[in-house]
């Protein structure tokens, strides 16, 4: 029997229709309102926000999705990168 291990969930859950509502030119406030506060913000790359979602069940492969939002110098939304596919409903 495998031993009891806690599953480890990390990062923001982003749904597909939230990503679809993103429009270039949005300011940081609007993006935060739509996608929520990013849990990963790199100190040396203030121009990008990373929405990383991962779920490691106690036994099994770690599932991960990532969306990166890039802002231009004036803080307007430039583009969105990352594996943009609908997030499966959580467990």
């Amino acid at each position: 029997c495998n031993l009891y291990r806690v599953d480890v969930q990390q990062g923001n859950v982003i749904q597909q229709q939230q990503v679809e509502q993103l429009k270039p030119g949005m300011d940081r406030g609007q993006v935060q309102e739509l996608l929520g506060t990013p849990l990963v913000t790199d100190p040396f790359h203030p121009e990008r926000w990373d929405y990383v979602y991962s779920f490691k069940p106690s036994y099994g492969k770690r599932e991960q999705r990532r969306i990166t939002v890039i802002f231009d110098a004036s803080g307007k939304l430039l583009r969105v990168e990352g594996d943009v596919k609908p997030a499966a409903a959580p467990r």
């Binding site: 029997c1 031993l3 009891y4 291990r5 806690v6 480890v8 969930q9 990390q10 990062g11 923001n12 859950v13 929520g36 506060t37 849990l39 409903a89 959580p90 467990r91």
Partner: protein, 739 residues
Amino acid sequence: FEPFTVSDIQIRGLEQTDPGTVYNYLPIKTGTLLTEEGARAAIKALYDTGFFEDVQLGREGDRLVVTVRERPTIAEISLNGVKAFPQDKLKESLKDIGLVERRVFDPATLDQIVTELERQYYGMGYYAAKIKVEVERLERNRVRIRIDVDEGQPAKIQQVNVVGNRAFPRQTLIGLFSLGKTGAFSTFTKNDQYSRQKLLGDLEKLRSYYMDRGYLDFDIESTQVTVTPDRRHVFITVNVKEGARYRVKSVSLSGQTDVPATELRKLITVQPGALFSRREVTESANAIADRLGDVGYAFANVNPVPAVDKDKHEVSFDFQVSQGRRVYVRRINVSGNNRTRDYVIRREFRQMEGAWYDASKIRRSKERVNRLGYFDEVNLETPAVPDASDQVDINVNVTERSTGQFMLGVGYSNAQGVLFNGSVTQRNFMGKGQILSASVDVSDLVKSFNLSFTEPYFTPDGISLGGDIYRTDTNTQRLIIAQYRQVTSGAAVRVGLPITEHVNDIVRLGYENTSLSLVEESPQRYKDFVATFGDNVSSVKASNTLVYDSRDSIIYPTKGWNNRLITEGTLPGGDLRYYRVELQGQYYRPITRSLTGFINAEYGFVNGYSGKGVPFFQNFYLGGPNSVRGYRTFSLGPLDPVDNVSLGGTRKVQLNTELLFPVPGMADSKSFRGSIFFDAGWVYDDKYLPSFSELRKSTGIGFHWISPLGPLRFSLAYPIGVKPGDRKEPFQFTIGTNF
């Protein structure tokens, strides 16, 4: 008053305060224009410091003259006649209001105190309380304050009456109340002393009682509290209007949620057609909110909207769910731990940082930190994170308790006579959460040495590793067991494997050597044993203990199970051949906020295998403070026909039922517990369970104190169904031995 530019400022009337302080708080500077409005602000500023009784501004040419009269400081406060409140708590609240020695005396605080004291007394039913305050002026502008209180007798409740009840008899309804006439336990429960909070609580219980049985329109129209002119008797009248009994017509669920609606729908226990029950509706709503709370929706809101049909007396509920934003945990801040290391607490947490908020994981985490047994209190708060509406922090504040027991001393226990022992047990060694204990016991019966160490988190996931080394030299002349001397020594390694959140499996492998020396009086059976096995036997023992432990705390459990299945045996190749199986079930259940019910049931049997018998020192022995109270230790079970000495048995059955209650006066401390118990047990050899009459039973009261010296247990038991030859021992106590 016309404005003028201030050329100079002079302060008069100062006896004590140094002028520098006044200048600092005075918002006027020399050379500035002083307007009327500025003057008024200055006076207010000086008053606000609280140092002055009176402030006057005057003018001599261009010089501003500030005349002040300082408030006296308090030299001494005496508080007499207060019995209903703990004195230090009162001194504390005086301090908060600013009435403290060496502080400036403000008469307004005095009235505040008297009003507050009176309000407190009347809130507790001390209607005849009289409070007298004296302020005595001393030299050098100081005062002595005397507060004399004559509490008088608290008014006792003479009658609680409910009017307008049809569906339920008055006695049942009054039975719900915590307030009531003076009864047997009133000196402890103080149920006959009127208090507003208790009445409000009782009214809520009455409302729930009706609302949980279909009475949707139930209403408490009015309540009256009347008192007799001599203020000694209180009557409480509650006028109710029951209204009709409602049935549930239909139940629906609306609102967009992440968790599939079908799953949430199953959480609703309200059945169409059944009687309306507010508790069921609330519990269903909470179940949905909790389920959403487990996937990050900490602020989910579930609102059961009723649609009432007054004529058909039917109600339908639409559970409207608004799950709100998914919330994440940013940081978990641990504080108050100045001995336990941060990771020892953090590793008990099921909730991670940077993860969505999971309500049951957080609840479970608090429980696990509590179960460490290192803290008196574990407080959890989840404050929102500023300018991030979807993030919260978790602040864990712990109050540490001493987990070390260094004990050198003389103990006495009925079984072992005078006990000299020294032990060092530290359940939080170096704050690393490791358990280390070394103990030496010397007494007439036993000379033992024991060293054990456990690292609960040998792996990050909580696989524990531990070891024991022990040597026990038992010499039983003083006891009534058959006379023999036994020296057992051994060492073992333990591995603890977490199976589920509450189930743990401990595998133990050890080597044990026992040497026996018998005397003339030793019973024949012992001599036969030595004849067949020899007087020095050693074996490798393997044991597996499956533990299901869901108690809310180890030191002061109030709810949960603690079940064990122990299977142990010697491996072939050693001298001994036996295996033992023991089943233990413990169940704690809160009865009221302070009363806890406790049941402990044990059954065990030990058999030899491949033709070898059970070594007699591996028999079960029952009786004594830790098993069936009221009987001498190890005195239960079959007796040697020759010298009437207890031989123990290969089968054991034991049952303890207890009612645990906090000791009056020390209700909030977690180290004292009183109990009323009923014990029963017997050891025997044949296959069938003993009949009820055969079981030795007792009942009595006990007292358990986790003292700095270690757990102390006292019990006064009255044996029932005593058979000839039983050895009774009503008063028993043990010091320092763990239960």
